[in-house]
Symmetry: C3
Subunit: 267 residues, 3 copies
């Protein structure tokens, strides 16, 4: 029997991020498990179409959405190339939110802004005696998120290990040149780079021309409408990253850019 130690500051909202896609039974089964444990859960999707196995994409999409949710939201993130290996399944509490995820770095960007107040290990048998070998989203993470959303934390164990963080925002700056990499390609083909505008705004002001290797000279713009249709630009995206864009076009396709590619900027 579960002793119900109510943890404060929880709502019933569970926000989901996975790379399970939307054609299979995976996310449906997770939703069923959540509602079986917490019938009042309010399940809200962020994305299920994270690039398969890409922890960096998962971290980026979580970072772009989490702060807009009400305090007390539980985030359930399953991008888990290491399922079945020894990576831990964890629950992190910060002052505002709870995060349920594999301990593989997918929380790296969020943890630049949120401080950990509590950390837990999810026991393998939290929901079924013998969890499946391949689908911990259903058997371990979804049940954990359901309990977290009810403020029931004593189903978890204390976690004394380290939270894995990845150096996602690394780039090399030398004089008036930056070597960065692609951390996201969105639906429109906009290409986000591993550089936050905040870090370079003293040197690159709006209207300045920047040269991108393999692309040519583009302007740093505020609005897409500063470009003519089909023109390429460099924009500060809605969460503060430098992003290569083509107005009403697809920059990633035009320039053959994809996740992880190196991009060289000079000015």
């Amino acid at each position: 029997m579960i002793h119900m130690k109510k943890n404060t500051n929880t709502t019933s909202i569970i926000a989901l991020i996975t790379d399970f896609g939307d054609k299979d039974f995976y996310v449906g089964a997770m939703r069923g498990v959540i509602l079986s444990i917490n019938p009042n859960a309010k399940i809200v999707d962020i994305s299920h179409n994270i690039e398969p196995f890409s922890v960096i994409s998962g971290a980026y999409v979580l970072y772009g959405a989490y702060k807009y949710f009400p305090k007390g939201t539980t985030f359930l993130i399953v991008v888990d190339p290491g399922v079945g290996s020894r990576r831990e399944a964890i629950v992190i509490k910060t002052r505002n939110y709870s995060f349920v995820a594999p301990n593989n770095g997918v929380l790296s960007l969020v943890l630049m802004e949120e401080s950990i107040t509590e950390k837990y290990l999810i026991p393998e048998n939290i929901f079924v005696k013998k969890p499946s070998y391949t689908f911990h989203g259903r058997d371990i993470f979804a049940p954990a998120a359901a309990y977290a959303s009810m403020g029931v934390y004593d189903v978890f164990e204390e976690f004394r290990g380290d939270i894995v963080t990845l150096d996602i925002l690394k780039y090399k700056k030398e004089g008036r040149a930056i070597k960065a990499h692609v951390i996201n390609v969105d639906r429109f083909g906009n290409v986000a780079l591993s550089v936050q505008y905040e870090d370079v705004k003293k040197e690159i002001s709006y209207g300045k021309t920047v040269s991108i290797k393999g692309i040519g000279d583009v302007k740093l713009i505020r609005y897409f409408s500063e470009l003519s249709v089909g023109e390429t630009g460099l924009i500060v995206n809605s969460i503060g990253f430098l992003e290569i864009c083509v107005r009403e076009g697809n920059a990633a396709k035009r320039y053959g850019l994809k996740l992880g590619d190196e991009v060289l900027l000079t000015w």
Copy 2:
């Protein structure tokens, strides 16, 4: 402080249409904003996979779904190629529904059936002092829909301008010939034309043979099952438009048809 002038006839349902796709953080951030303002909002998706930047597709999908929702539903439509330009962000009330959208024609088809009773302008700073330059879905439209769903309208300003409407259903009829265009290609490859059957039913009755340029002679049918598997036909779709279809096949791929293409029918 917001003075809560309750506007009648609202439910907590907010139905969403965007071209933001389902892989990024965009729709998730909008859902978070909505729930932060109206924790009781019932968010219901219509589609987030509108053809990027296609106001016509957005108008068509909205038209195909809206009338099946309960009275009092708030529709939030963000297909917004002009984000950052001077197009207004508006809220339209009709006797049955509220519509939150850019003033770019995306309400054109709905407004053939619904009469405007009130119209409002959404102030840029409705949610944050300085909205982002590129993501008004999160910073302007989602907050507006959240307030509208609570019946809180005095956060808006009066709108005295004109509602933009597009002539989406235009076609040219001369004798027994119609020159129309493609207004939608659905998941199955069915190709909807800019002609409502109501307008031509006196001349084209069920069973009649119609010649489609580049395709050949097809029959106007009621049921897909009137065709053999793989056969092409002309059908009246479930919202009254003429539609080129292939039974259990993909008409758009077979005939290379896409949004905006011209189609010539003779009989």
Copy 3:
């Protein structure tokens, strides 16, 4: 007027499976209809991206998700290549769940585990006097699911016919060889076969080498992490089926396998 005979054991959860995709108005219109009839319905998506017209895929995805939902859930399954033909629209009750679907075999796998306690026919005019010829999802199935989720069953008629079942899990075993077929390809390219591990576990134990025609020798594994990245294996998937996989890769693409293809295993 509807006489409200409350049927017991229902929650307000309606879980959806369709092949309508996520770009059109189809699923949105169905959600609107459901909420118009049952404003308290809790609509939960399983998948709308079932392979178009594939009753087998629909049956498989339903089977993979249904048992994780709370008792009393109503499942609404619309994979309906025969829309407009004489196939019946039915409601099946089992001890735990209700299923609303066309009578075309899409319930075949579920009915291996669940016993029918009641069966009903949905009248064509349950919602509108003249339902559309092509969209029974909106006009017949969605209204039926809404009523079922409220426990209102006297809008249905008695069904005395047979429930269609398909022999989805057929395979031929001769000595140490099995001729099976592909019943699902998931987002990651994992290829599920028409064989449950339970049936062959006495002969194929974990670690054993199995030869797959056209692929070569692979090992039966428990965890993806037993493979090196890019290596091919045979795994027992999370709902008990044999599945061909490539670690962090796409087996279906690598070997050109698709739904319905024959696969020969020997050991």
